[in-house]
Amino acid sequence: MDEEATRDFNERCAQCSEVNWGLTDGGRFYCRSCHNVTERTREVVNTDFITNTRVQTISKGSRKQEKTDGGCEWYVCEGFQLVLKKQAEALEALGVCPQMKDEVLWNFWRCYLQRSKQAYCIRPAGETVKALSVCDSSTDVDSDPERPSLLHVLSLSESEGDLQTDNSFASSTSKVSECTSLCSGSVDGSLYLKKNQKEKLRMTMPMTLSFCYMALLWLREPVTLSDLLRFVVEGHIPYLNVFQHFPEKMKLCGVDLKIFCVESWPAYEEVYNKMLELAVFLELPRFPDITDSCFLHPDMLCMKYLMEANLPDELHNWTCRVVKKIGIGDVDFLTLVPGNKSTAKVKYDILAAAVIVVVLKLLFLLDDKYEWLLSDFAEERNKNNKEGDPYFEFQKWYKVIKCSLDAKQKKLDEERAKYLWRCEKPLFYSAKMKSKVLKRRQMVVNLQNQFGKLAGSVRPAEKPNPSSFQLSWSEENTDGSCFHGHSLKGILQEKCGLLKPMNPDYWLCTVKLCTERSCGHLAHYSREEDFPQSYHFVLRLFSFLLRIQPSYIHDEVCVIEQKLFNKKFYKKAKIQHRSSWLMFSLQ
């Protein structure tokens, strides 16, 4: 163990205040509790450490430089490492703190390699790749502190192209390639898909995003998962055709295509669930607390979404009250504790959107009648009284949002249809296919040119600038299309010094939640269902903003409603869809 090496280093970890240090292969100290890596390196070369076989170190090894096709040997995990590196760089360019790439994500990745027994470990017996040679060259590592390690590879420029890997891989190469019949450019590509991965979490392309999201969550960066996925689709984060950026010598073919080629956009659920699995697999400790000063706290996110949805700022007061009432703003509720089944798995963005929907239902009922009635009152009042902030008119808001949403949705749909999935550098399954694939590519380019000319100057939709906001409304616009400053006075009434909504009713989206085990959903939503149109509309708005299905938000709305009304609901002992709002008092 490297206890000896770390014995003298007693400082508290800046991240989690623990004193539980380990040593990275680069000779730096890292915190075993939170995987924070310090800038401090061990100064004394301890020869005991070198003989330690638990901490496997990295060396250049005896990588065979040239294969017959001019490519070099490489491993699937190296491919993913490159992908992660590219993604981390992109996130950094978007303004995420540099720690994310060089420390957090890197540590997660290293930990993954170790736990999945791909590196930094003794190969367990019975593995397909049996050969194991304890790194005899590990002495190099310590004697040459300048030597690049995997850690540094992440920040290396790709032109160097010479990736590092576990020494044991290289030595087992011959065996691997002998026993594979499937063709692949990588050394272990065919094995990778064949292996029984029950105890391991096999790396996939969507999982690279799970890694990124996990790192962002760890650092409590102001990026939600829906933001992250949108950035991917908009092309700000490399994902599709990311293999383009692989060094020339890393040839992809055969099964590598299955591993690295992406044929679809990442799905929210998939990335999220994999992230949870990953956190358990890596045995990560409790994540840093999500407090009310964090961007991911529902109060914060509600504010953001209220702005984006062009709703009055005053509504924030109400979302905060709902959040407080049902305790979904608590640190313990919000903070991710991997593996702890009793704690909720919070999807911050969906939760916040659902809170807003519930508040809209509380204040406006959204039954296709009451909200219009209120709107008529407000309109009347605004006509007669031009002083002060105008009263919020639901109808006006609906018109403005509907118009803008329809236009954006249309644009988005067209962009999806116009998306170019292929890159300049086509992939082929085998050398046999090469000429055919290249010919096809050429024909596609020719046809694109020919019809492009007929279409006038058409280029694929230009990348929008990365922004957390998809819709923006400004008070400076004089056309009155911004509702942020509008007042809720028309829909509230004062009682005993407290402002209460005039709306006395509420309707529940569902009487009873389903169990996720039985049907996979907590609730059921479809566009055809008999919900009021206003409700459908509000869900559509948030589903557009988060780029997820409306049913996800609907499910969350149902959960919140259950929490909000549960006690009253059962006390009344009779099932009724509309429970009295008056019984529901907010502090």
Partner: protein, 466 residues
């Protein structure tokens, strides 16, 4: 795979639920409950996977945008989306029935045909690419290409393309595309015929001047041979080959092979394997007429046409021919034919047709023979002809637009509907007011024969009187 354990788990759970809810005392007596197996998709939670955008869905969406644009004739927009759709070619592991390459061929052709900025050069290069794209429809693409060239008057290029396509060999594909090759040959034959026809006209012109060119004549005959061979082949296959048949018959007639021509036309008209084709009978009739054949054969050709297309313009000829016949049966058929013609809106204002009918009706009424024919024809029409032909509105309209039409119609109306019919009343009134002699005679005639109307309408004379 993933559904299997889930399924078991759920079933067990449900069974447990059933057990626990059963009354404890009698539970031993209850037979175990066997639940039916639900299809796996009931257990699979519907995940976001079904909704996530992938290559295929993106391209499908693109395709429907193209279709929308094409329906609205927005060729520029269609071209724009097509540039994104062509990428689907690169997904060569899809084996759908109508693959993207066929879509691209069809859509691309359509766009290039209609887009204002496309040129023949561009069209040619597109077609060449499409030919290399799918050997399975190589010849179809060739044909389509040729049609486009022909439409643009590029006959020589079209001929060249047809010759090239004819010599195309590609293993068993050549055999599979047997029908297409026949078509290609037929179209080449058609172009050979055009050449022949041009040279023929040239020779005839010069022949009048006493000038003869042997080489032109030789070339003309060689064109004839080339055309005849290919045309003969295609018309053996059941189908609608109007153009080919006409040209082939023209060739045969020119060289005096009337028997062959007659055979071809009869085969084309009467072979039950061929789809019903009115034109086949028309061609046969015209040929027989040219040959000065007997009335009998002409009538039989037109009878077939009458059976398939009772509203054909040749029906007037047919009626006249039947009218002249001495046989009652034929004259009876003639009445049927002319009535049938006027059932169609296209003939409503045709003076010739009305005068034919009027003439035959007049004959019948005067002779008072065959009133039963009239009664029979009228019985199926008396419900709707008055509104269709003999309304007051039409009377007014016909009178204003075409007096001879209104005269013939008024005669027919007077006979069929009596002197009190709206049409007759209006027209005869107008005619008498204008002091036109023939209308006065018409009025007299109708008044005189009014009882005929009673009889054919099934009204007895006594009860018919008001």
């Amino acid at each position: 795979m993933a559904a299997a354990p889930r399924k078991n788990g759920l079933l067990e759970e449900e069974e447990e639920v059933v057990r626990s809810s059963a009354p404890p005392a009698g539970s031993a007596l209850l037979p175990p409950l066997y639940l039916p197996f639900l299809p796996p998709h009931f257990y699979q939670p519907a995940s976001s996977h079904e909704h996530k955008l992938n290559f295929k869905k993106s391209k499908q969406a693109c395709l429907s945008y193209i279709q929308d644009a094409m329906l609205q004739k927005q060729w520029k927009r269609a071209a724009e989306f097509l540039t994104f759709y062509v990428e689907s070619l690169e997904k060569d592991y899809s084996k759908e029935h109508v693959g993207p390459s066929e879509m691209i061929w069809r859509i691309g052709t359509e766009i290039l045909c209609h887009h204002s900025h496309s040129s023949i050069k561009e069209f040619n290069s597109f077609m060449e690419q499409m030919k290399t794209l799918g050997v399975k429809r190589y010849l179809k693409v060739c044909l389509e290409h040729v049609f486009h060239l022909l439409c643009n008057g590029l006959i020589d290029e079209a001929y060249q393309n047809l010759s090239l396509a004819e010599s195309w060999r590609f293993g068993e594909q050549t055999v599979i595309q047997d029908k297409e090759i026949k078509l290609i040959q037929a179209y080449r034959g058609l172009l050979d015929y055009c050449k022949w026809s041009k040279q023929k006209n040239m020779l005839l012109e010069h022949g009048q001047d006493g000038f003869e060119d042997l080489s032109v004549e030789q070339e003309m005959h060689s064109c004839f041979r080339k055309a005849a061979v290919n045309l003969k082949e295609i018309i053996k296959i059941p189908g609608v080959w109007d153009q080919f048949v006409k040209c082939y018959v023209d060739l045969l007639e020119f060289y005096g092979d009337h028997n062959e021509a007659r055979q071809v036309l009869q085969e084309y008209a009467y072979n039950p394997k061929f789809p019903a084709n009115p034109n086949a009978h028309v061609y046969l009739y015209q040929f027989l007429k040219r040959q000065g054949e007997s009335k009998k054969s002409l009538i039989s050709a037109l009878k077939n046409l009458h059976d398939t297309v009772p509203s054909h313009e040749l029906m007037i000829d047919f009626h006249l021919m039947l009218q002249k016949s001495k046989k009652r049966k034929k004259r009876r058929l003639g009445l049927e034919v002319i009535f049938a013609v006027l059932d169609y809106a296209g003939w409503k204002e045709n003076v010739k047709a009305w005068s034919c009918l009027a003439k035959q009706l007049k004959q019948i009424v005067i002779s008072e023979k065959h009133l039963d024919w009239l009664k029979q024809e009228w019985s199926s029409r008396k419900d709707w002809w008055p509104a269709f032909h003999f309304s007051r509105y039409l009377g007014k309209k016909n009178w204003q637009e075409n007096q001879s039409l209104s005269y013939e119609k008024a005669l027919v109306a007077g006979i069929l509907l009596g002197k009190d019919g709206k049409y007759f009343k209006y027209v005869s009134h107008q005619g008498c007011k204008a002091r036109m002699k023939r209308f006065r005679i018409l009025k007299k005639f109708v008044h005189k024969h009014n009882p005929v109307y009673m009889r054919i309408s099934g009204l007895s004379e006594s009860s018919g009187q008001p």
